[in-house]
Symmetry: C2
Subunit: 401 residues, 2 copies
């Protein structure tokens, strides 16, 4: 007799892309597929010193069970950071999570029933879509452009559907790199308020802005309707698994109960060591250094794409974050080309899986944070050669494959 | 307009006991309410050395994203531990989790739909019940005694209901301290096999046996139908948040997907430091030392209860684990008495919340691992005085309150 699985589980298909990309993990493949921060920039020595100091001074407390909400001094730091960015926040509004991913999951648990309507951009962050699908929500995708989600299209959905959650990555979105403009932020939040729809503001990259000025966090506009997620994964180290949620007061107790059922609490030692680090290490200077290095890589990717990609390719240089979103000339198909790219020792993520509907097969996502400029140039040269050959192959006068 | 929450969230009531026990966290209260391991026994120096060595030798890898399944050498250690205990296991059957709690949660996600029937003992582990309720499962409780769940009662439920999961804590259960006897293990597993019902074997305390011989793990009897949970929280340190699942092959891929949606993966540094510790530190000797110290505390609690508790009180000295389960003479009500106990600077957990049905108000749970013998004696003396007064108050010839 077969194993009976939950409906949420039965709905999950294995990922073809993931299987191909496993091949791309060989060291001679220059992969731009991941979303990894650069390990050579991790403050390893400072993190080691912080762990040593905490274990020396307060080892027993650092290794014991602790509160579900998270270590108070860490919540105080997060609250002060929100406050400094224009979102007045108390420590009791902050919940420490295992990276942003757990924040997505807890929000879905507390806000979504099976069948509930969640609005996202199209395309949107794959792991968020995975969480919404696991919650058996209905994902309704609204078109977006280089300025983010289109308010008119959003207004139409909000007017006609009983929307339970609006999910946005307002800064340097994954996968598109787009930033929601201030005008759009105001328009979107006016719509959310008018319809009383909670907004999930997923902001893992906000601190990594390479040009332009920071824009108002969505939570600064409607602090009691916006659930904001943040993380140390991109600015400190993902292996610590530390992120946070800033919660509207009406949701807080429910989110804490959901976190307790999920895993009781986040790592005590990791939280205390991070607080020690934030006290003894110049975190602001570290983030500034990341901005300089990643900003240079961003520029190298932009100029190299301009040199290498076939005519008719389109992309917008992002203002921050980790990703370029490239649209290839039709009829190129990024998923079809991926095995050929891997054979040429270069890899990317095809764009199609990020779409909820109307997937554009000629799109792909490139990460620039995890490769030094020389590797960026070499890898994009490999990719460019392949794509130019493909374009020539599809050129008028040649038979199509 | 009010916030719309998910049905699972709306069903969760705040815990009165939790509120009272917050008061019991004052340092002058001798609390036996928690389930904490003794922090003075944490191998703090060895854990510090392991973190230092890992960060020195492989800091970048230890701080980067890693695989959802968990760090391979840690999974190999867990697989070898299962194999040594009579459950032949490969590393690819092991999934690293954030303590056992996440294992409960992932199992519920993969196996339970709303309305699905889960069978538990009565009483059962509170945080497991919380997970099943959050999954909107129907919890059907089967009576148990000092030998664990009653097979005849279980057979009746399995014959009449479409059971999707059987949840058991076979060794030194929380809250009862009871161990499922070998005869019952065989009977229960025969029933599970006959009905094709997956079994969730929650075994956080198995390594902490103070007398008697280890009994066959449930997974050794039906390795492809039993999902086994374990943890380093009781034997090493809970603050690392590291546990594991041994998964039947048919469930494995689904559990990995559920873990990925939950939080991508468990802490990379914590996993690598734990492997370093297991290689450089005598973990077996450490666990043996815990057995000696906790075994002494267990005996002290047993003898002190015999001296202090009013006549008619009942308990069974557990063979391991962290808890005594006490039945007071009727009509004493442990929940009613808790504020009086806290006023006398002693605390416990009332037993009633652990019951799914037919709650016995005269039961309570006492933890012995987290107090030295002198504190055990003093705290239980305080509790005994209070209870003897109450018994006298209820004695025949006195008006009832």
């Amino acid at each position: 007799m077969g194993l009976k699985l939950s409906q949420a589980t039965r709905g999950v298909a294995p990922s073809a892309v993931r299987e191909i990309l496993k091949v791309a993990e060989q060291p001679d493949v220059l992969s731009f597929a991941g979303g990894l921060p650069a390990p050579e920039l991790f403050p390893v020595e400072a993190i080691a010193a912080a762990h040593a100091a905490v274990l020396e001074r307060e080892g027993r407390a650092a290794l014991q069970y602790s509160t579900t909400e998270g270590y108070l001094p860490l919540r105080e730091w997060v609250a002060a950071d929100f406050t400094a960015r224009g979102v007045p926040t108390q420590a009791d509004q902050v919940l420490i999570t295992n990276g942003s991913q757990q924040g997505l999951d807890l929000a879905a648990r507390v806000l979504l029933d099976p069948g509930a309507v969640v609005v996202t951009e199209n395309p949107s962050y794959l792991a968020a879509l995975q969480v919404f699908h696991a919650a058996r929500a209905q994902v309704v995708a609204v078109p977006s452009d280089a300025q983010g989600v289109l308010p008119e299209a959003l207004a139409q959905v909000l007017a006609t559907r009983d929307v339970r959650l609006l999910y946005l990555v307002p800064n340097f979105a994954n996968p598109t790199g787009a930033t929601l403009s201030l005008t759009r932020r105001l328009a979107v939040m006016a719509l959310a308020q008018a319809h009383g729809v909670p907004v999930l503001e997923d902001d893992p990259y906000g601190a990594l802005r390479y040009h332009g000025e920071p824009l108002a966090p969505l939570a600064s506009l409607l602090p009691e309707l916006v659930l904001s997620l943040g993380t140390f994964s991109k600015t400190l180290a993902p292996g610590l698994r530390l992120g946070w949620m800033r919660t509207p007061r009406a949701m807080r107790a429910h989110l804490v109960v959901a976190k307790q059922a999920s895993d009781l609490h986040s790592g005590t030692l990791a939280q205390r060591a991070t607080v020690e680090l934030l006290r003894t290490f110049d975190y602001a200077a570290h983030v500034e250094h990341l901005r300089v290095v990643y900003g240079e890589r961003c520029t190298v990717m932009d100029t190299t794409l301009a040199r290498e990609l076939p005519k008719g390719s389109r992309w917008v240089k992002p203002e921050g974050g980790l990703f370029f979103w490239v649209t290839l000339p039709e009829p190129l198909d990024a998923l079809e080309l991926l095995p050929l790219a891997v054979a040429q020792k270069v890899a990317y993520v095809p764009g199609a899986p990020f779409f909820v509907r109307d997937a554009a097969p000629n799109t792909l996502r490139l990460n620039f944070s995890n490769r030094a400029p020389a590797d960026l140039r070499e890898g994009l040269a490999r990719l460019g050669r392949l794509l130019r050959v493909e374009v020539a192959h599809h050129a008028p006068g040649r038979a199509s494959a």
